[in-house]
Symmetry: C2
Subunit: 395 residues, 2 copies
Amino acid sequence: MKYQFSQKIDSLQPSAIREILKATADPSVISFAAGNPAPEAFPVETVQKIAAEILQENPVLALQYSVTEGYTPLRDRLAVHVKERYGIGQDFDQVLVVSGAQQGICLTAHCLVDDGDTIICESPSFIGSLNAFRSFRSQLVGVEMDDDGINIEKLEAALKANPRTKFIYTIPNFQNPTGITMSLEKRREVYRLALQYGVMILEDNPYGELRIKGEPVPTIKSLDTEGIVIYCGSFSKVLSPGLRVGYVVAPREIVAKLTVAKQCADVHTTILSQLICDKFLAEYDFDAHIKGLQDIYRKKANLMIGEIDKKFNPAVSHTDPEGGLFLWCTLPEGADMMAFCQAAVENHVAVVPGTAFLTDESEPTRSVRLNYSTPTDEQIVKGIDILGGLTYKLF
Amino acid sequence: MKYQFSQKIDSLQPSAIREILKATADPSVISFAAGNPAPEAFPVETVQKIAAEILQENPVLALQYSVTEGYTPLRDRLAVHVKERYGIGQDFDQVLVVSGAQQGICLTAHCLVDDGDTIICESPSFIGSLNAFRSFRSQLVGVEMDDDGINIEKLEAALKANPRTKFIYTIPNFQNPTGITMSLEKRREVYRLALQYGVMILEDNPYGELRIKGEPVPTIKSLDTEGIVIYCGSFSKVLSPGLRVGYVVAPREIVAKLTVAKQCADVHTTILSQLICDKFLAEYDFDAHIKGLQDIYRKKANLMIGEIDKKFNPAVSHTDPEGGLFLWCTLPEGADMMAFCQAAVENHVAVVPGTAFLTDESEPTRSVRLNYSTPTDEQIVKGIDILGGLTYKLF
């Protein structure tokens, strides 16, 4: 049987990252290719206690069908949470619980994008989002990044050149893959341009709590007096990605459409997971927990950057992120980036080639993404030593 | 701001059933409108024990990111499970874990349907699937049901008339909403016609284990020597819908595409839920558990049918399901079905108007769906008494 797939999906390839992750199942490979929280970042005993209490006190609630919008007490608690921490939430906004921020991104594309509509993205950007957009046959237009976020002149040029733009997709905090944080001035400019050109903004903030230095910058959503920003948050990096709980804050009318799409997608998000997140927010010291995570990631980031500065050929540059999980290393002029990644894997170190994150994967890039949250300290030291040797051998 | 939604989603309305479910939040309303498992059907103590063990023995596995295809031991166990119980699984087939069978259905549409392609459905059929299909701009063609399943002559006529048909969607066991089971002869005919016309079959079997009388009928997938059947199973009706775990069995090439779409949709299914399902299959007596469920639903179905036969105007007919969760009642010629549903709600009993399940909701129907799994025995007796009064008052 020759199967005929939809045009939407036919062109999509499995995510290069996930394919590399499979290759790294080999325990002898040091992986800087993942994006997993550090195992020691999970509040294991707290989750054990919470889960036992939920299944003891409310077993039928935890096992039965639930409503598509999400568990009401969790939605209410999240509305307060994002208001207090990020100044998010106008009268017209509502919270929708989703199965990880990835689902919020996918549902947004499903609800807003017709074939051939444009989505403007930072380039490079998160491959999971780019693929979700591609799977609805959108045209991706990449705008390059400066050290303080998306290039505003090029963003305006892209908006002018693409009248069918539906929204601008951005990860303003500790962007994946670059680690770059967008300045407040640029956040204001992005918002102003979106208003001026009549497009929406999809603000993806999975790493926002993982700041390891510098001062917090207000979210774009906190500037949203006009109802043009769809904000995605997640429990994946602050509690557990395996539970698959994220949330969207957006104007009521948009949440209503996302809810219809979510009914079709998975009816509702695992209710046991929602109850665990709800109880965690309600009963535990979230600030203390976040401070613990920041300490873990600050130490790992500093270790990796310190080792890179000691061991890498100085012709290789890297970003200096204020938080998140990733570094972006750029190889010297004329370097063969794919040959470097290949040599790294052959020497049992996995990194992600930068091409995976481009809106147009055929464009050239000399950059690779390194993750410091998943490997152990020993792996960071050893892996950077191996990569460092290659940077001298190859360049 | 005037929001411009995608054509895919713009025409979709919130599911009538879920809207009615919200109305039935009023505890004074007896709801025959849901499709929830009976609360007493949940193996609460077992799940408490399993969840505690998982979070004790493997907390990081349960909380960390996992692979899109699903937890490998669960996939392997499901492959054996469907082979032993349903004769399902050729060499070319693979198992994909999904976030409830609903996701399997949605991903199938995403991967196979281009704008304007046809999906042939039993009419009436499950509204969640119909809406998922609509959300990818498919053209739905409904084929009417006989007492032993889809009408084969009309199915062939529909295949002839719609050359852009991508697949036939069917719930062969205890169909939602009618409760009808397709005969083996018809299953063979559906398979033969699909082969002849070069279309696929999406076989949805969420209720298959809930047989309350009669003999099991082989699945269509068990006849699938040619690799044209995509089979969806679920833990929702046999363990817990709140966990959101289902599975797809389909040819490898199709599972690969579904996996790409699932990466975009939600990365992976809640891993704690998958581990609970895996341990339940591995360590508990599944057959004994299913026998317990069958006893619960047999009792409830018999009670509702007995009360209907006592209390309803004999001009109202009903199906006599061999399993599942639903009865399909058809009001007498000339009856105003919507007025009956309205009068029922005013008398604090909720049923679902049959129009909700039609491929073309503007078509006439005199039928309504009644659920017997969710209400208590007392509610069944009282609710049917109230509806019975209305059948005499109105017809």
